[in-house]
Symmetry: none
Subunit: 429 residues, 2 copies
Amino acid sequence: MNSIILSIGDELTLGQNIDTNSAWLSRQLAAAGCDVLAHLTVPDNQRSIEQAIYECGNRTDFLIITGGIGPTADDLTRQALSVVMRQELVLDDLWLKRLEDFFKSRNRDMPESNKIQAMIPMGATLIDNVNGTAAGIDATLTFDLPVPGHAPRKHTCRVFVMPGVPKEMMAMFTRDVLPPIAKAASGAIILSKSLHTFGVGESHIAEKLGDLMNRGKNPSVGTTVSAGIVTLRINSRFPTREEAQKNLNQTVAACRAAVGDLIYGDDDQTLQQAVADLLKQFGKTIATAESCTGGLLAKMLTDTAGSSNYFQTGFITYANEAKYQRLGISMEVINLNGAVSEIVAAAMATNAKRLAKTDYALSITGIAGPDGGSEAKPVGTVFISLAHESGVTTKQFHFPGDRDWVRDRSAKMALTMLRYYLLGKPTPF
Amino acid sequence: MNSIILSIGDELTLGQNIDTNSAWLSRQLAAAGCDVLAHLTVPDNQRSIEQAIYECGNRTDFLIITGGIGPTADDLTRQALSVVMRQELVLDDLWLKRLEDFFKSRNRDMPESNKIQAMIPMGATLIDNVNGTAAGIDATLTFDLPVPGHAPRKHTCRVFVMPGVPKEMMAMFTRDVLPPIAKAASGAIILSKSLHTFGVGESHIAEKLGDLMNRGKNPSVGTTVSAGIVTLRINSRFPTREEAQKNLNQTVAACRAAVGDLIYGDDDQTLQQAVADLLKQFGKTIATAESCTGGLLAKMLTDTAGSSNYFQTGFITYANEAKYQRLGISMEVINLNGAVSEIVAAAMATNAKRLAKTDYALSITGIAGPDGGSEAKPVGTVFISLAHESGVTTKQFHFPGDRDWVRDRSAKMALTMLRYYLLGKPTPF
């Protein structure tokens, strides 16, 4: 069983709204064992909608349409469906009554334009909308698909039309659309798991995964990158939930074995959450001393509830003078080595740890750009130090990208250095 | 001139990621006078991608493709394009060199799998990627479209393939894809302007706008909300760029008159950029003292290049002890009033200003949640102080939402208080 999701609306093709419905619907359909072949979005133009319904309908089992069933002149989905079905629109007396009652209960007269919302193509069925005036439509399209050298093949596609308003759509889909699809779907269930890594590039992760990423494997393993986080996405597709879960677990275990400690968490877990969990687990405290990141690292360390367990204070020493005043680093050392140097980074972490009386301290000093770079220290040069029980460890990095990127990667790398230290493992970079 | 936007990726059709690229691209294309006929999304399946390229290509002037050009086995867009073009993939020596240099500069060997990123269909042109290893592809498809009773009609479609990573895609589109499209596009021009506000709700802004928001107006005015920022979107659609620009300017001026100082910037301008500009304009410096926001305010103040002009240091005093140690606020005052109180907020700002020797200081202390709330001071209670030439101004707020929201709104409100102070105006909240 497969499906196509068709979204209707000028606000989408003009880019004024981001389509969130299709992603939500895709997750529901996948979990019910119904493949999503495509998402398609077309504007409020009747010919475009007709063409989309026709072309999608003849290649899928279920066509899920959202939008274009409001009361205004630019709502044209029901008219387009009626043309493709070659069935005229007829008035549903019960829904007309519901509409009139709806307006009466708000002490308003029903605008004449709203009457269109009680009309559906003959032969279609109306779907109740418990949250609004736009009823849904449940219809069946039949096609004679040409087969070279043979008689045409009959194809039927069940079409569900729902409102574009997410809340109304979700309620309608869950109550009246998903059950018949789940029943018809031949049982194949898709279960998914995401594993997140930080520290090396996508191609290095792919090399570690090797054959696990081969095309056509089930469960399948793919990678995506977002803000430096390389995520493994594992999708397991089997006739029963038990098989899907068992195979998912096996492949997740194989991925974990292949990629190792670079994986910091799964699904909704963030890097800062993973580090917070380790700090709490070991009962350790941390302070920060930041130059180019300007507070971002401390912000990330306090993103999670309960961060007061391990974080009490941070130093933002953006200017050289502040590194002296706040952290007691002599101006001589700064002027001799430059503020962006191993020795200053190490002093920032060491002094922050001593002043804050914590178990650890992380420091970051670098050139975030766009200005301030030199041949010896180009934009993206960053020193990160971790002061710990037995001294201080400093690493130099060269992060690509613009100011935002350099700051973001620097803070994530600092968290990752701390994470490896807490795990008792050497960093792989 | 028209276009179709084609997005490639299992993570999209499985609903694991929301497609934000298509909306962004649509806005750019509309502004250039290029109609968007549809958005289409298909999974990482070579046959599906081939079919999508073929079917979209034969009905549009420009096919804008994002995704599927990474180095891994599930990146299949270049292979699919090569099949539709009937041109084999050939190695681009210059880009291979760029890739090798990229890895060399990071002291890493280039994985063999990355070599595919230097291959494009013969006859296509490579598009530079200044932010990553995935070069884009610029190609032309030609079709013989059947015309009943006549000779086939020649149709050509220019195809641009770009990375799916938004930042890389946006940079590539702006630099190398949009210019040829804008040149070719003719006809109705849509020019847009966004005006951003912070401090009051969407319905308050709508009330101030009044008739300007009426349906059917051209230019049209709508509002959207994102992360507390209420944005006015003004779209002006006219046959010529001059008319579109003139009418846009008039409506923008009317909106500015109606909404006033709540508007802090337009289009890509951020609240922190607006505040930075004012600080630089007046030659003033600022320090921060943060409790619940944990560094977020300082991070925002240093988001913009050149922030060293006005920002030197910040105090993150998350724990009470840190408020005493770092800012010299007596434990007696803290214990008597609570860390989340007007007096502690005022002391944080006053002492930060004195210690940092700045013109101003902003402080934030509040209950971000989910824990720590009480009946007298529920989650979302936040005190923000601004220390200035003539003393200190403190305001109490109650922000709705979860931890992230409360922290985000607190930092934005602190920036907004400073903004109104620098403008010499009283705050409207």
